[in-house]
Symmetry: C2
Subunit: 318 residues, 2 copies
């Protein structure tokens, strides 16, 4: 079945070797109190502790380290709402090559600062997918830089899948694995790994109701941009990519959307109980459990906490 | 030298066996970025991930589990600004005995809720040491409950020392170890363990300038209550105990006080960079490094992050 997919388990296993030593093997955390509240036995894969504060470090390193010397010298370029931008800047700096970053004007300041600190060269654009892609294409054309798409590049998807691989290796059999969907890179990589390593596992995607393009695409079988996203989960405002759509259509067991209120409650709950900082996007799978939108009572559930980059001056519950 | 002290390394080693399985062996975290900012190689012992969100779970369990059956049946009583109260409630619940908790009226709501959830029976009193002690003594007299002093009970001090023991076992040789001082339980236990395991280590206490009774006691050689404490670090508003004073007088190498602004900056810095939630008291040792008040350039430093119980609706930088 998965032989036809744009990313295979072999690609992800290769990514593990390629990025080893460059990204963190993040911890898995558990909380009895959260298990009581969410009524499941949850293993949280803490990508908020990943380099640059999000899983995106994985995919970016895989893409940058896979470049041949000639291509690498000309640098890399991308458009991103933030975490991928920081990740690509870091990966490029590691290899000593330039990273050109197209960011929307409304990107959170914390993410802009992060890219600058890591040496990325920022070009701002209008906060639309079209404007971002045009600006990135222009830089790729003029500089010969390699475009590293933030979520639909197969190397990026393979890199993101390494988080779930580590999780499943560490915790053993799970009944379900849950992750958030923005452009689909993390969810696709997670799905490919999970289906290969534990064929019977339930693979569940989660998305904000107010940015539910991927859910609608999956439901209808036709990739759609949907309404303009309007969610606090800034990492999930992107549209599902072509490769992500393909993979998720084949591999997903279920897809759950959650309210903005549940995202805020879930985020706060994780901070309060687990004493870790997660960003709104990372709270989306937790929100699905909190809202009881998916039947996982007493199940062993793996949750990918995607990142922890928030603006501490603008917390959503205040 | 340490044979005369009210708590010895043997007491702490005994506490390790006694509390094993009842409290968490917390992780040690490192951050290259924080090392760059603070100019030292820091191993953070994350007691914010401890049960009830603070190191206090250690001392309370050690004291409760050491009681004989007859004493245990009558329950335990204490006065506390919060974390010890939750810790004693939990330890008592573990053993199936009652915990009577005297708390100041101005205790943070998060800490009150935590005690109630854990089954502690709360009696509120005026927010002074005198009022707290009187109320706790009255309950001890009327019920025959054992008073477990929040920081000066030798069993509590021994329990708190187990955090540093785990840290030193895990990370090996350090140049210095730094912890905060409130009543002195954590700092005393830390000092006893550190001097025994690594005789040449620098043992450094830290305290808010605006609650510097322990610093002044150490400096003058005379235990003093000092001015009324007025610090954001609510866990450190207590006065240094008799046993703590004795131990710190003998074992400390240095004592540093920090400003309120530095505490807030340090707290925020740890949240931002490490993606973990720590309370203001836990930020005090980090503030000492941030303010450069102690010469630890390029040194290997162990820092005890004492807890993570904060009111998320009232963050100090907002």
């Amino acid at each position: 079945m998965s032989a036809d997919l744009p990313v295979t388990f072999i690609d992800i296993a290769t990514a593990v070797s390629r990025i080893e030593g460059h990204v963190h093997h993040t911890p898995v955390m558990r909380s009895h109190r959260l298990d009581d509240i969410l009524k499941a036995k949850i293993a949280f894969k803490c990508e908020n502790f990943q380099r640059i504060g999000a899983f995106k470090a994985r995919g970016a390193h895989n893409a940058v380290l896979a470049l041949d010397e000639t291509a690498a010298e000309r640098g890399v370029v991308t458009h991103s709402s933030g975490n991928h931008a920081a990740a690509l800047s870091l990966a490029a700096a590691t290899r000593g090559i330039p990273a050109f970053i197209v960011m929307p004007e409304n990107a959170p300041q914390a993410k802009v600062d992060s890219v600058r600190r890591l040496g990325g060269q920022i070009e701002f654009c209008a906060p639309t997918i079209t404007a971002r892609e045009a600006a990135a294409d222009a830089i790729a054309a003029s500089r010969g830089a390699t475009l590293v798409h933030p979520y639909d590049d197969p190397l990026v998807i393979a890199g993101q899948g390494t988080a779930a691989l580590e999780l499943l290796e560490e915790v053993g059999p799970l009944d379900a694995i849950v992750a958030p969907v923005g452009g689909g890179g993390l969810m696709s990589g997670t799905a490919v790994v999970a289906r290969h390593m534990q064929p019977g596992i339930r693979i569940i995607a989660t998305e904000p109701e107010q940015a539910d393009d991927a859910f609608r695409s999956w439901k209808t079988g036709e990739r759609t941009a949907g309404d303009p996203p309007n969610t606090i989960a800034d990492g999930l405002r992107t549209t599902l990519g072509v490769n992500g759509f393909h993979i998720l259509t084949v591999l997903l067991d279920d897809f759950v959307t959650v309210s903005e209120a549940a995202i805020v409650d879930a985020m706060r709950l994780v901070w309060e109980v687990m004493k870790i900082v997660i960003e709104p996007s990372a709270a989306v799978p937790v929100a699905a459990l909190l809202e009881g939108k998916v039947d996982l009572k007493d199940a062993r559930v793996g949750v990918i906490l995607s990142g922890g980059n928030v603006d501490l001056d603008r917390l959503p519950w205040q």
